[in-house]
């Protein structure tokens, strides 16, 4: 339903005429995010330039009971930023400044719309390091990273976004602006509200500024690629590396389907005749890096790796990692609709989970390519299908139900880094149980009594 003319006028007063979009040609491109097969037209799209505008909008929306869906670049993979009916999309992509790099305190302050890449570069220019690196880092925004608690390729050693958020500026649903957290490494004053907003998927407040923790840049890095004729061998190699015990920064896994698609796009000479590839990277002190790299190469060979290729230089290492980042999109070469999932299990259960996914694919006669962050147990079984084939889509649904049930049974989670959003709200209670659901609902009701922020996400 279009917004009444009076509402449009008010929005134009708040944001300026050019920053309020209501034409259908502008609404259609904001009706989706990176998640397959989820679409909903908003009533309007507005671009905020500063926190005061966000505050004005939320106060207005709270008064008029208008749903607000905050959004950055729309690269999310759980439908977290897909509009809800009659909602206003609040796009923060234009609030994209990196405000401060504080080398003395190892922190960085940025507006919510700054891209992850811009943040990584700003840190890098100061000789520092921002580790979280979602696959979409070139375009994803930091506000979205925090709201969805994104992960990435370095999660194994460095963790997810949560580990790097020191403070947040948040606009609450009633329009009040709140700062939580600061530059202190230790701060135990009161509840950790900062943590409450991380991963809140735009339901508790709108994040407008983020204070991030930075690390010293690792002095050395080594990247290698190990190919395996059998999936089990690759999984065994991962277990052996972790048990060694070595914690590399990246331990990524690609199956045969994924390898072929990525090579088709990136043409970097990936071996095409193997069942599984491990992309391994270690970073840190040069001596430790050399030792760990040698140990991991030996372990891979012991576990039956056919070939272990060590990147000759930083350029080759970057190409390999960049190619891995494209895996999700490259899989779209095979099937018109690519449904990417995010099941995660304790690392000890990886081999079992991968086998289970294969069995389910066979049972439902589906093409499921699997890749993921093997070192942290985060798998992305990806179904290559066609959304126009209703019968097959039904089988996809059934298959993923089984996959998630198994992940939960193994002590895992339905999402390791993408969030719940719209895509997984039906299985959230299965994982969390009743008490957790109740607490979460009550928290949300207290903060957003009128239910204006991203309603229908996480749960109905």
């Amino acid at each position: 339903m279009p917004l009444p003319a009076s509402a449009c006028d008010q929005l134009r007063q708040m944001f300026g005429a050019g920053e309020v979009l209501t034409a259908v040609e502008d609404l259609i491109p904001y009706s989706f995010d990176g998640t397959a097969a989820l679409k909903q037209l908003p009533a309007a799209v507005v671009f905020a330039q500063n926190t005061a505008q966000v505050s004005d909008l939320l106060r207005w929306a709270n008064h008029h009971r208008v749903p607000i869906v905050a959004r950055g670049s729309g690269t999310g993979l759980s439908g977290g930023s897909v509009p809800v009916p009659n909602s206003i999309v609040l796009c923060l992509a234009k609030m994209n400044r990196v405000l401060e790099v504080d080398a003395a305190n190892l922190t960085l302050l940025a507006e919510a719309g700054a891209t992850t890449q811009a943040i990584a570069e700003a840190a890098g220019q100061a000789g520092l390091f921002y580790p979280p690196d979602p696959g979409s880092m070139k375009i994803s925004t930091i506000g979205g990273n925090v709201a969805e608690n994104s992960g990435g390729l370095r999660g194994l050693k460095y963790g997810v976004t949560r580990q790097y958020v020191m403070g947040l500026e948040v606009v609450l649903p009633d329009g009040e602006v709140m700062w939580t957290g600061n530059k202190c490494v230790k701060d135990v004053a009161g509840y950790s509200l900062r943590d409450l907003f991380i991963g809140s998927e735009g339901t508790l407040g709108v994040i407008t500024q983020v204070l991030l923790k930075l690390l010293p840049k690792p002095q050395a890095r080594k990247t290698m690629l190990a190919s395996f004729a059998r999936m089990e061998d690759a999984a065994a190699a991962v277990s052996a590396i972790i048990a060694a015990p070595i914690i590399p920064c990246t331990l990524e896994f690609l199956d045969r389907t994924t390898i072929h698609c990525v090579e088709d796009y990136a043409q970097i000479g990936l071996p095409l005749d193997c069942e599984a590839l491990l992309l391994i990277e270690t970073d840190g002190h040069p001596a430790a890096v050399a030792e760990e790299a040698a140990a991991m190469e030996r372990i891979c060979r012991e576990q039956g790796a056919r070939e272990v290729r060590v990147a000759r230089d930083a350029g080759e290492a970057d190409r390999l990692a960049a190619a891995r980042r494209t895996a999700f999109s490259a899989l779209a070469r095979v099937g018109p609709t690519t449904i990417l999932e995010d099941a995660t299990v304790p690392r000890s259960e990886l081999a079992r989970m991968i086998r289970f996914v294969q069995q389910v694919a066979q049972k439902y006669q589906l093409r499921i390519g699997t890749f993921g962050h093997m070192g942290d147990g985060n798998l992305h079984p990806t179904c290559l299908t066609d959304e126009r084939n209703a019968e097959e889509m039904h089988r996809v649904e059934e298959a993923f139900k089984e996959i998630f049930a198994e992940a939960i049974r193994l002590g895992g989670t339905i999402t390791g880094e993408h969030g719940v959003g719209l895509a997984k709200k039906h299985i959230l209670p299965q994982q969390t149980g009743g008490a957790q659901m109740r607490v979460m609902r009550e928290l949300r009701r207290v903060l957003d009594p009128n239910g204006i922020l991203n309603p229908g996400k996480l749960w109905d």
């Binding site: 491109p29 979409s136 698609c261």
Partner: protein, 443 residues
Amino acid sequence: MGLTPPGHPAGGPSLLRGLDYSILQQCMHCGLCLPVCPTYDATLMERHSPRGRIALLRAVADGQLEMTPTLAREMYYCLGCFACMTACPAGVNYAEMFEAARAEAELSGKLENPLRRLVRSLTIGWLFMDVRRLKALGRLLRWYQISGVQQGLRRSGLLRLLPRRWQELEAMTPPVQPKWSAQIIPPVLPAVGQRRYRVALLTGCAQDILFSDVNRDTAEVLAANGCEVVTPPHQSCCGSLHAHNGELGRARELARRQLEQFPPENFDAIISNAGGCGSHLRHYSRLLGEDAQWAGQARAWDCKAQDIHEWLVRVGWRAPSGPQPSLRVAYHESCHLAHGQKIVAQPRALLRSIPGLELVELPESNWCCGSAGIYNVIQPDMARRLLERKLAHLRRLQVEVVATGNPGCLLQLINGARAAGMRLRVVHPITLLAEAYRREKVR
């Protein structure tokens, strides 16, 4: 002389609905195209991004949206630089969608107004359909430029009486060559030394008038590398201008003329030295796939159509020798060479083979310069922004020469450098190679 009739036949065929749906469906809206899209970069609005445009085109194909004036204009706001295709891991064929969408925009008549219709009829519909007309205009322009009239007008300040847009257009009038390709390239140029290949050289339309010297250099470089070069004196436009501007019917007509003039079986390769034309030339089978008489020929043509840089690297070229002047050169990538044809390493390799030449990497070398066919004429503001961005990089590099393999980019950079008062030679890479060969002979 009129173009496609105005008005979309009610309920009639839609090119987008007729398009293979899987091409539209291929986009999984991951967003990896956003950071490389110059128009999205400038506005941060989804409608100005490949992902957004594809969503709109899909809505048309799905019957949820009609071709609207806004969407039609949007397709002309897109530069057609195809940087998104290089960035897209899913392999979305944006080029085909883009052509179909512009053609549908024309078919719908949503952009119709008398002036636009007149200008398009005169240029795309008439001038570029017959190179003789273009050459006649070229003579006129040449007279304007060398007779002193242009200089006089520019000095007198009389031009300032014209509307601002006209002044800008006058400033963009390209320097016309004194001779056309046919006057400086023999119809058959024998190979130097042993003949290894027989190739055809496309002289192009605008290229022939504005850069016939590049055509001559191309012929000489080919000959120097064992190619017998066949260059028929009367050639027509390849149709890229038409296809990229929504005139698929005329593009087909011109493609058929090319196939007639250059039967692919007669040549080892059909050589183009214009990036924009080249990226169109390799898709004649897409254009003529439904044409029973020509489809087979078109497929054969697609295999033979080669960019000059690509061909030289493929057959192995001879590096120039001897003492050569030292030169710092930057390479600007034509979008349709880099993104349309994926030709990235070859021009650099050719340049590096010239003794004394230092190739300096230009930051954002494959970011559009704003020329984009006739984009700089129809979207002057966006084009100017992109040109300024490009010139800023060149200024910081402090190079003497910038090389680029497409007439549109050459013109854009020549005009840009002149207007900015920069001392910068703008040149086709093949010209640098030809000059280096010539210096060998002098020695």
